[in-house]
Symmetry: D2
Amino acid sequence: MNSIEKFKHVRLKSIEICRPLEIEDYLPQPSIFVSPPKWHLGHTTWFFETFIAKNFSDYKEFNPSFAFSFNSYYESIGDRVARDQRGNQSRPTVNEVLKYRMHLDHFISSLSGSELLPFEELLELGLNHEEQHQELLLYDIQFILWNQAIQPTYSTEFKKATQLLAKPKWLKIEEGLYDIGDEGLTAFVFDNEKGKHKVYLNAFEIRSELISNGEYLDFMEDGGYENARLWTAEGWDWIRSNKITAPLYWLKNSEDRWKEFGLNGFQSLDLNSAVQNISWYEAAAFCEWAGYRLPTEFEWESSSSQFNWGKLWEYTISAYLPYPRFKTDEGAVGEYNGKFMINQMVSRGSSYATPIGHSRKTYRNFFDPSMRWQFSGIRPCKR
Amino acid sequence: MNSIEKFKHVRLKSIEICRPLEIEDYLPQPSIFVSPPKWHLGHTTWFFETFIAKNFSDYKEFNPSFAFSFNSYYESIGDRVARDQRGNQSRPTVNEVLKYRMHLDHFISSLSGSELLPFEELLELGLNHEEQHQELLLYDIQFILWNQAIQPTYSTEFKKATQLLAKPKWLKIEEGLYDIGDEGLTAFVFDNEKGKHKVYLNAFEIRSELISNGEYLDFMEDGGYENARLWTAEGWDWIRSNKITAPLYWLKNSEDRWKEFGLNGFQSLDLNSAVQNISWYEAAAFCEWAGYRLPTEFEWESSSSQFNWGKLWEYTISAYLPYPRFKTDEGAVGEYNGKFMINQMVSRGSSYATPIGHSRKTYRNFFDPSMRWQFSGIRPCKR
Amino acid sequence: MNSIEKFKHVRLKSIEICRPLEIEDYLPQPSIFVSPPKWHLGHTTWFFETFIAKNFSDYKEFNPSFAFSFNSYYESIGDRVARDQRGNQSRPTVNEVLKYRMHLDHFISSLSGSELLPFEELLELGLNHEEQHQELLLYDIQFILWNQAIQPTYSTEFKKATQLLAKPKWLKIEEGLYDIGDEGLTAFVFDNEKGKHKVYLNAFEIRSELISNGEYLDFMEDGGYENARLWTAEGWDWIRSNKITAPLYWLKNSEDRWKEFGLNGFQSLDLNSAVQNISWYEAAAFCEWAGYRLPTEFEWESSSSQFNWGKLWEYTISAYLPYPRFKTDEGAVGEYNGKFMINQMVSRGSSYATPIGHSRKTYRNFFDPSMRWQFSGIRPCKR
Amino acid sequence: MNSIEKFKHVRLKSIEICRPLEIEDYLPQPSIFVSPPKWHLGHTTWFFETFIAKNFSDYKEFNPSFAFSFNSYYESIGDRVARDQRGNQSRPTVNEVLKYRMHLDHFISSLSGSELLPFEELLELGLNHEEQHQELLLYDIQFILWNQAIQPTYSTEFKKATQLLAKPKWLKIEEGLYDIGDEGLTAFVFDNEKGKHKVYLNAFEIRSELISNGEYLDFMEDGGYENARLWTAEGWDWIRSNKITAPLYWLKNSEDRWKEFGLNGFQSLDLNSAVQNISWYEAAAFCEWAGYRLPTEFEWESSSSQFNWGKLWEYTISAYLPYPRFKTDEGAVGEYNGKFMINQMVSRGSSYATPIGHSRKTYRNFFDPSMRWQFSGIRPCKR
């Protein structure tokens, strides 16, 4: 696929993700960490418009006020709708946003190879950016539907997405120097993966399979959420003030049996699927209870070729910090990654919601330790 | 008009009010005091369904989950969507709510006179309730449109709605005993207007015309918002913490001239229209500055026949408290008025957004002193 | 007693109130509505210094920084320690504040009759102001001691202060015109009591005795705190968010019997004493449950000669609003009362903590409806 | 010094630190991160009582209620005064706390060598714990005095504590494997320093001297606090919401010159002293502006022998996370360190407020990135 074909393909995928939605579902923002689907569709378009299209004198901006509506956090670009106000924006309408997408897509698709050449890198960044939002779209859609009085089903495509098929084994990794990171010479990587460098690892053992719902239920039934000793101080405060007693989407049915809400609606809890929609705090407390620990992101990357990954993002005990020689880019795209390098924990791998082709072993995702609407799970190490 | 004709007429009016909206505009809740238009349409229907239709064994409930979605504050009726979550409910969709309305309207319209007879009072209450929501709909629509990045115009119907045509005069009212309230023997009144009783009033002087934008601008230009002496302690805290320096919908244009946003979009400020969309705190501070005072609700009612009212709700210095012999009704409708009788100030009259026929001199409206999205103005008394 | 003798007497009384305290007890501010005893001692001194002593050219200010420390809310006088920071002020020390008091007292006491003459009114205001703070001191001391891990006893002087000695009777008051307020021609009154005027009252019945702890316990045991129907909407929110289920100072002992904390420490609950330390919300809910109502402040004043009052402040259904012809004074003392006339409910009478001589039937005290650290009770009317 | 002598020495030091205080200064808690000096004195005593004295059957607890007053965060030990309520505890009085200290000190000092033997480790932990609180005491005292209307001087002992004497040089450190951590075989270390392990470091350059006030002022005058590009997203939010525009204790005098508040009161800003009382966010933004970066904690430890440290704690870019093989201890002391290992950044070294003998190159201190009342500074690396 050449770049324009890839562009069309990725752009279309975002629309397809939204297809099962009612117009009304494009709007809600039930929590500050959620963005309305309409906003995702506008914001990804704005990214291409701002960093590529506007460099062409013959590009006619679709609507200058959209820059205010669809900038996410780029301080260098200008003012924007406050993050917690995204759900209050009924305008532009869904239909206008779709027209905005077509307008931009038409312009980009009509560029010649030589016109595109200086923007190849930004185009690739834009497509990877849109793929990230495609995954966020699924997280946000699930959370929005969950917040309805009647909790509707999004799709049946995601059934058994996290089913665990093999018996867990412990994989022994040897002590030594390992290479970490990727300079992106052969394929796209984000700036936070660059700065390839060596790390020295002690020998460790990592599990071939993720933690299952069944194992997590044992933790719960053993009083895991009531035992302060298992939690970091911050995690304990968090479960207390938010009255957290189970993973985000678990509910008990009228017969006191657990069921789990997902993109495929409510299902009775499958004990043999990987536990998901837990926070880093919960992952860490589970490990403390089980006598395990989370891997570092370096342990994960160094051993990832020895297990199957890709069902869920996998928590690590590594804070999201710059690699050696990390430097923010000049210009607004420099705000892409670096400015979030504080108080976030690295997740590695990818999930069943990650677009195909958008995953690699050096990928560094990151979340606030209290977040749990994303599709994350636990792969333990021996202590 | 008989009751069923009136019923059809009032029910249709709510739909007409929403006609200029896009589907997306039915959803936002940009502040906790706003309800989404979709919610108003559902809630008014739920009121008739709950208090009338459900008493008939042959009524088939449209959707049992709607009771959870559209109960406002009736504790006796059961659980409901939390007030601050109304804007997050994309479901039921607008279309489903319209079907819900048709379902209920069809049922009520098909009732015979004798079937309706025991519910005549509740029917009238329901219609007055819906008329109240029609006015709230206009407040909420204006606030929602104001919160869009592009602030659209709702209608041109409301131009010059508050224009002041005559020169203000002071009307002298004599000391003496006056009758207050209405037992509702000849026409509908709310429970809070009953308990007809005498009050003794000192002589007073009340103005024939409301305070104009021009007079309010004088107050602003004289430093009214910076002079703590003019404000109640609570009002001063409120303008400081909310950085209030002008009426809600006033903005300065690029040439530093005031313009005002309304249902008819932005207009340059008409100095000769009545000031509106100010809080009670601001009304009281203005009066303090001008050497005036607000009337009591009893002064207002006793003198209302001597001036023209109906452009804007008119603030009074009276707290919203029960009249003699006030008693909450048995059953859930008893929650209609009485439970709000604390920390609210009475407004009297009606506004250009009040449905025709839904106003009378004994009407007691009430607002928290910090509210200003409603269409309220100032009619001063001499001190 | 001439003015200077009265001055010395009142000033000494404040010191006597604090005598049982440890130095450390002068400092805490466990809630924003509490002021540290040290602050009361400084603030009452500052009042005399600011409004009287500073008018004399030979007065030497004790310490100019104290104006910042001890101004309460007088915007016209200048900046001050933020209200919620009073408890963080270890300096000036208690000892320095006592010296400040002596310095000011010495100066005022040394003024000749003719020098004092122009300040007689302000002196009287200052003494009444200090008497108000003496009562607040007792409320605050009780609240501070209650907040200690070991809850100490302040004094044994207040035992049985609210004991009810007679059987309650209903007193019938006739319909008619009554005089309200007092112009203060023969004795001191606050500005909010002036504006003597007539009110017309319907016939009503008021009880000779306050509501007892026993009656209030019946309300609690009948599920009063769980029944939304009894509460104003605001009151219901308040008990829910603050998890209120009993009067402020009630606790159950290890044998599940109620005890009550007071200035005299913990005592087992006396069913035959008047219930106190409840909020207006609770008083109103109790009345709703019992089929009673609170009196208006006008009903209270008009009938007060027919019952014994003075044990506890008595809640009314009247909002704190200006009497006819009320006008704030010129100068900073104009901030004394008027600026609080919004969202407060009037209490009438006085309590066992009110200084002798500091009570009269026209006195208008006022509290936010959620406050309950003050010594307030319930005298019901028949509905 | 044997253990008992060391015990007496350390215990006395805490009292000496408080000697310049007025009784009142022992109480305030002007921010949740501050503990009242009285609390520090009680809490350190409680630590010895709980973990050592109570194991002896002949120890008579001084006052059982003190456990509630002086437990800090040990969930396993039981309930305690809520952290934000420490400043409201006037009781026990300072005098009672001093008696409590004497009671415990007397008991411990009277133990024989063989009785002490099983508790040697806990005794050493308790002494190191108390030394940590001695440093916190100085932070808290400075913050309390700063919050007084008159900001008093604590001592003149700390003048020029951070003066920079040498010209900064860049020290080149070679690439390679380095040993990190200390098993504590020869001297006391905290559990978080154990797990000695190898790390592989790239070559780097670290500066011989800390960043000076002069350099930091350049950053400020170049608009450092207004340039979003220099800040992490979280840091930018933090300076915006808290209106941060300078280090914590900097103020401009009446001639617009900077002065700095410290334990030695206000001094005009010494451009040649190390900048301190900045947050991690500010340290990181400064480095971004200057083209530097913070070291990792491993870089710091590996190079620390080549520069002078000990003036200020030194920020690193390392999150506070467990070393290999870290495991929380059994029993309540296991809550000492591990439960804070999330969302904190490591500081290394020690400060002029660190007790003599209480510093070593493996010491891992940690702070939330927004904290700045502690004595921390910046030692940059080349990028």
